[in-house]
């Protein structure tokens, strides 16, 4: 592998982002963070990450909007997206957009790493 896999974390919860960043960096991933969907979309375009972790309920642009914009961009479409949903959001309407997988918060660090590795392997082949 030429360089460290790059992961974009999009979540409005600063503390949670810090934990996720720490978890992923401990496994030698290059982590970029964004605190809302709009910022996330800009960073995704600029940095071309290998995987995106996406929160659904966020201010400015929520995860659904992000996924919609994201799927319209052919240069981004191939990047795997793992959507993180809170406990009760997921019981509402069915999600309108295709993402690689929906993960339910809270997520244990070990499980997070396992999921990230699984999708990177799938996408990177």
């Amino acid at each position: 592998m030429k360089q460290k896999p790059r992961i974009l974390v999009i979540d409005d919860d600063v503390d949670l982002v810090a934990v996720m960043k720490g978890t992923l960096e401990s496994k030698a991933y290059d982590v970029i963070v964004a605190y809302n969907g709009k910022e996330g979309l800009e960073k995704a375009k600029k940095e071309k990450p290998d995987l995106i972790l996406l929160d659904i309920m966020m201010p400015v642009m929520d995860g659904f909007n992000f996924a919609e914009q994201f799927s319209k961009d052919p240069s981004l479409k191939k990047i795997p997206v793992l959507a993180l949903t809170s406990f009760s959001d997921s019981l509402g309407q069915p999600f309108p957009f295709e993402v690689s997988e929906y993960l339910r918060k809270p997520l244990k660090p070990k499980d997070l790493i396992a999921k990230v590795e699984e999708h990177l392997k799938r996408g990177g082949s």
Partner: protein, 481 residues
């Protein structure tokens, strides 16, 4: 207004007055055809059967002339239909005026060839005034009545003075009667009185009728306006309620997110420590942190449950409903639970019909119900089995969850589905909201849920049953957003 009216007139949208006028003009055409036939028959009968002497040829010529202009009238009335609303009344009245004038002239000519003053049919002019009174405004009616009496007067006068020849009806009338001035005056006065009194009566009646017609239309319009206003009010109220409902749903979403976010974050921090990312921890620390994780899990479940109740009660669930396969719902609900059962040494059996019943329902919510019932069954069963059975009946489908567990105390059965109720023979596991939420979900689908303990078949444990109707009431089929 009248269901017997031709369709096209309704489509053009004439006022009832215009429609009535058009219909009358058509009736006049028909009446004129009948009149022609009547004149021919009367002439034949008078000349052939009664041998009354009068020249029949001019009568037939006059009939032919009448037929000709009646045909013309027929074509004109047809062309009236092509006119839009608003133009019909003046046009129809103008045609009516012309034709009635023609009628007067032909009738006078007819009278001349059939004995003038001697002919009792002289009073047929009255019929015309009545006909005219129905169609034309009252001024025209009096005008035509005057016209009629003048024309008859002129005819009789000309014949009397010898300027025009008189046709004597031979066997029918005394030969010198037509020269009897006092009789002529008497007939003319009687005719005039009849003409003007008919004019008065018909215009009065038809004027009243027209007034009524307008009143009915006005009333109809007022009623329609009132109904429209009421409808607008109702729909604006509905829209307001819908808006409030949406606000509330959004509010609940925000509440859920804001209550859970700090817990989720805290949970992550603890997991981060537990998973050793911050270095090693002692067993004592691990024990306390794990207790912390469990308590937070419980709180997250409680928040979800608490927020589920208003979400279901405000009808959000009906928006999630679509056609779903019940077998699929049950299969998905058992995901992971078979492992839990196995770990406890229980057999988890599932019986489902081969072709899955299709129902209109909220898939995730029904999964929640089945998961809740089955995990309860596993929780309160220490040995034996848990059976999930789906049956397809005529009007509804039935899901049963049967266990061989500790059962439910008889005094607890009636309160089982109450909020925050926990059985007296179980610990303080769970939020006490699971069954009450399940009941709400099933009832939102138009179904029923109940519990029996011991299970009537196996005489042990308990059985939870819920039914879902196959065809949902219209209220549940509202449009999805």
């Amino acid at each position: 207004m009248d269901s017997k009216l031709p369709k096209e007139e309704k489509e053009i949208g004439y006022t009832p007055e215009e429609t009535a006028l058009l219909m009358r003009v058509r009736v006049f055409v028909v009446l004129r055809w009948l009149a022609i036939i009547a004149i021919i028959v009367a002439t034949l009968v008078a000349s052939k059967a009664f041998h009354i002497g009068f020249p029949t040829l001019p009568v037939y010529i006059i009939c032919a002339f009448m037929a000709l202009y009646n045909l013309f009238m027929l074509i004109l009335t047809r062309s009236l239909k092509a006119l839009g609303t608003g133009f019909v009344v003046p046009r129809a009245r103008a045609y009516g005026n012309i034709h009635i004038f023609l009628d007067m002239v032909t009738l006078t000519a007819l009278l001349h060839f059939t004995g003038g003053i001697e002919n009792p049919f002289i009073f047929f002019f009255v019929l015309h005034i009545i006909a005219v009174g129905i169609v034309l405004p009252y001024r025209s009616v009096y005008l035509l009545a005057t016209e009629a009496i003048l024309m008859v007067g002129l005819l009789v006068g000309l014949e009397y003075s010898g300027i025009m020849p008189h046709v004597n009806l031979g066997a029918f009338a005394p030969p010198e009667e037509w020269k009897d001035a006092s009789r002529i005056v008497a007939v003319l006065v009687a005719l005039a009185a009849l003409l003007f009194s008919s004019a008065y009566m018909t215009t009065a009646i038809s004027g009243e009728l027209r007034k009524r017609q307008r009143q009915i239309v006005e009333l109809g319009e007022q009623l329609l306006e009132k109904r429209t206003r009421e409808l607008e009010q109702i729909s604006s109220e509905v829209a307001k309620l819908e808006e409030e409902r949406r606000h509330f749903a959004r509010f609940l979403g925000v509440v859920a997110h804001d209550l859970q976010s700090p817990l989720v974050a805290t949970q992550s921090f603890i997991s981060y420590i537990l998973d050793g990312f911050t270095g090693g921890i002692t067993d004592g620390q691990r024990d306390l942190l794990e207790r912390g994780v469990r308590r937070i899990d419980g709180l997250l479940t409680l928040i979800t449950d608490l927020l589920d109740i208003p979400r279901i009660e405000t009808g959000q669930i009906t928006r999630e409903m679509r056609e779903i396969s019940l077998n699929e719902v049950v299969k998905r609900s058992l995901d992971g639970l078979d492992n839990v059962a196995q770990q406890k040494g229980l057999t988890l059996k599932v019986e489902m019909p081969e072709s899955s019943p299709k129902i209109n329902g909220a898939s995730r919510r029904l999964q929640q119900v089945v998961t809740n019932l089955v995990s309860n069954a596993i929780n309160y069963t220490n040995e034996g089995m848990v059976l999930v059975r789906v049956t397809d009946n005529n009007n509804d489908v039935r899901v049963e969850v049967i266990d061989s567990g500790i059962g439910i105390l008889p005094e607890d059965l009636p309160r089982l589905f109450n909020d925050f109720f926990r059985g007296s023979n179980v610990g303080s596991k769970g939020t006490g909201l699971g069954l009450s939420i399940s009941k709400r979900i099933v009832e939102a689908h138009g179904g029923r849920i109940w519990a029996e303990s011991p299970d009537p078949e196996t005489k042990k444990g308990s059985r939870f049953t819920f039914t879902l109707p196959k065809k949902l009431a219209a209220a549940h089929e509202e449009k999805r957003e």
